[in-house]
């Protein structure tokens, strides 16, 4: 019995190490000098700690700027999309607006649309509206995309919201707007915070539409800068491992900060 337990545990640990092995390889090689890499290959430990590869790559892509762009875009989208979602879900879930089932269905469909079916018109319209190659265009697009999901999720959460609370607040003389901010938002805060985190990470990770919209170096996000460089096949081994490390680090930081929210959120989001 306990032998079998130990064996299964052993297999699970080995598999987990296999899953993490690529991360370890990236870390080892991003800290290795090109000469060391050429002489000893990608599997050995670095002979000495070499940070120049990362510094060079950082400067080559102006990584600080890319981090700022990604943060501005993902941050704005997550706040705006949560705002839009809660407003819509309030009208649908608590306001019980006529035709709400159809409205929710439309948002669900919007959520399924492949970006391929929207990208060319969006590109065309952004050019017409002088929004092409601006962060604002990407912020508007992803606020719409994420709030389609947020509306769908939140309106099902709010449809089970305790009506006594809303009625009690109304009897106390609170209007719709006050009820939303003083009653509904505080009570739904756990769900809203999950959405904030998810919208931030999802938007951070987006590549296709940001790549089409953001052509100038000054506006590009982290994934766009790294993806375009990788697509051009212009990096050597050291640059590639440095690029991989710089791309991984923010994701790992988010993961460590938000681990609880993430795992709780995935379970909530999937079953709703």
């Amino acid at each position: 019995m306990s032998l079998r337990r130990g064996l299964v545990l052993g297999v699970l640990v080995v598999l987990a190490v296999v899953m993490l092995f690529p991360f370890l390889l990236v870390l080892l090689n991003a800290l290795k000098s090109p000469a060391d890499y050429t002489a000893n290959g990608p599997l050995g430990l670095p002979e000495s700690l070499y940070l120049q590869g990362i510094v060079d790559f950082w400067e080559r892509v102006d990584f600080g700027l890319k981090l700022t762009n990604s943060t501005v875009i993902a941050g704005s989208v997550s706040v705006l999309a949560v705002l839009v979602s809660i407003l819509t879900a309030y009208a649908l879930g608590i306001g019980r607006v006529r035709g709400r089932v159809w409205i929710v269905a439309v948002f669900l469909l919007a959520n399924l649309m492949p970006q391929e079916a929207l990208v060319y018109p969006l590109y065309f319209l952004a050019k017409e509206a002088d929004l092409y190659d601006t962060k604002l265009a990407v912020i508007i697009i992803f606020t719409a995309v994420q709030s389609a999901f947020g509306t769908y999720l939140l309106s099902s959460v709010l449809s089970t919201f305790p009506r006594e609370l809303v009625e009690a607040a109304r009897i106390d003389g609170a209007g719709r707007w006050q009820i939303l901010w003083r009653v509904v938002v505080p009570i739904c805060w756990p769900t809203l915070s999950v959405l904030l985190v998810f919208f931030f990470i999802w938007t951070w990770n987006e590549f296709f539409i940001p790549m089409i919209m953001l052509v100038s170096n000054d506006n590009q996000t982290v994934p766009v800068a790294l993806g375009v460089l990788q697509g051009q096949r212009l990096m050597d081994a050291t640059a590639q491992s440095a690029s991989a490390l710089l791309g991984i680090l923010p994701a790992v930081v988010f993961f460590l900060i938000f681990q609880r929210t993430l795992t709780r959120g995935i379970a909530v989001g999937a079953i709703k």
């Binding site: 649908l92 990208v119 060319y120 790294l226 790992v252």
Partner: protein, 299 residues
């Protein structure tokens, strides 16, 4: 009841709250989608005025071998992103839950985190990581094979038509595995332990209990995972872009990538729009079938 206590205008008072979402939806989703469908009936280079050609693009598309190859490749990606992760995720989640489980909560959390980590990476970054590992000259995969004395097994993983699609599939399994694992682990907490105890008393083996108790109990989660992962695989653009750019010789092309090529590389916009429209119809059709199957099995 609520109607009695409130005037009818009560509901209408909520309409302004729908305004921001309505404006965004129309501008970013409805209008572009309609435009895309419109463009798919034209021949257009992206500049000047489009020429109306009716269903020509669709006729060309259904006779286009490149499209059908890309479609077939996408079926392979469904296997890699939906089928295999669901199977492995189910096995891993049950093993983790049964063996490590609540008694060693910290170990479970650590193992779950290890499997889930690739999921939080931007797909592009996962592509950079694997593009580097699978590089024929300086990549770790071939270095490892040489180190093990398996020189003859070394490959140009992403650059050879025979191995490219399989390599992409492997990368996708690595990326995707954590998602079903986490969902199933959450679902397993919900199952009444008495079901397993009763089955064990009846002499059911671990595999029999997995099949007879766990799988039916996890049916809602399995449905959701299969549906969302299948749809995600039909939207495979970013991974293909960084790993192979659809090559070599179209052996890893997908409809999503093929539409991008037509939109932005060949400026064959009408054709790209037709591919994207077919992709949309496919996704909506699949979702409809899935939801119907789910309703039927619930009822």
């Amino acid at each position: 009841m609520a109607v009695l206590t409130r005037p009818r205008t009560g509901r209408a008072g909520y309409l302004p709250y729908l305004l921001p979402a309505a404006v965004l939806f129309v501008a970013v989703i409805a209008v572009p989608l309609a435009m895309n469908i419109g463009i798919s009936f034209t021949r257009w280079q992206g500049v000047g005025s489009p020429d109306w050609v009716g269903l020509d693009q669709y006729r060309t598309l259904f006779a286009d071998e490149t499209f059908w190859v890309s479609f077939g490749n996408n079926l392979a990606l469904v296997v890699a992103m939906a089928v295999l992760p669901t199977l492995f995720g189910l096995l891993l989640a049950t093993a983790l839950f049964d063996v490590v489980g609540k008694r060693y909560a910290r170990t479970t959390t650590a193992l779950r985190a290890a499997f889930y980590l690739p999921q939080v990476l931007p797909a592009v970054v996962a592509g950079v990581v694997w593009g580097w590992i699978l590089h024929p000259e300086y990549g770790s995969a071939n270095a490892l094979l040489r180190f093990l004395g398996l020189e003859s097994w070394t490959q140009n993983w992403l650059g050879d038509e025979r191995t490219a699609l399989l390599s992409v599939m492997g990368v996708l399994v690595w990326i995707q595995l954590g998602y079903p694992l986490v969902i199933f682990l959450a679902g397993l907490q919900r199952i009444d332990p008495q079901l397993h105890e009763a089955a064990a008393l009846d002499g059911a083996s671990w595999w029999q209990r997995l099949w007879a108790v766990t799988v039916p109990q996890l049916r809602p989660e399995i449905f959701v995972v299969l549906l969302t992962c299948t749809i995600a695989s039909l939207k495979s653009f970013d991974k293909i872009f960084v790993l192979t750019r659809g090559g070599p010789g179209g052996s890893t092309n997908t409809p999503a990538y093929f539409s991008f090529q037509n939109f932005f590389e060949k400026t064959n916009v009408g054709y790209g729009a037709a591919i994207a429209t077919v992709l949309t119809v496919l996704i909506l059709g699949l979702t409809f079938l899935f939801l119907r199957a789910q309703n039927r099995s619930d009822g």
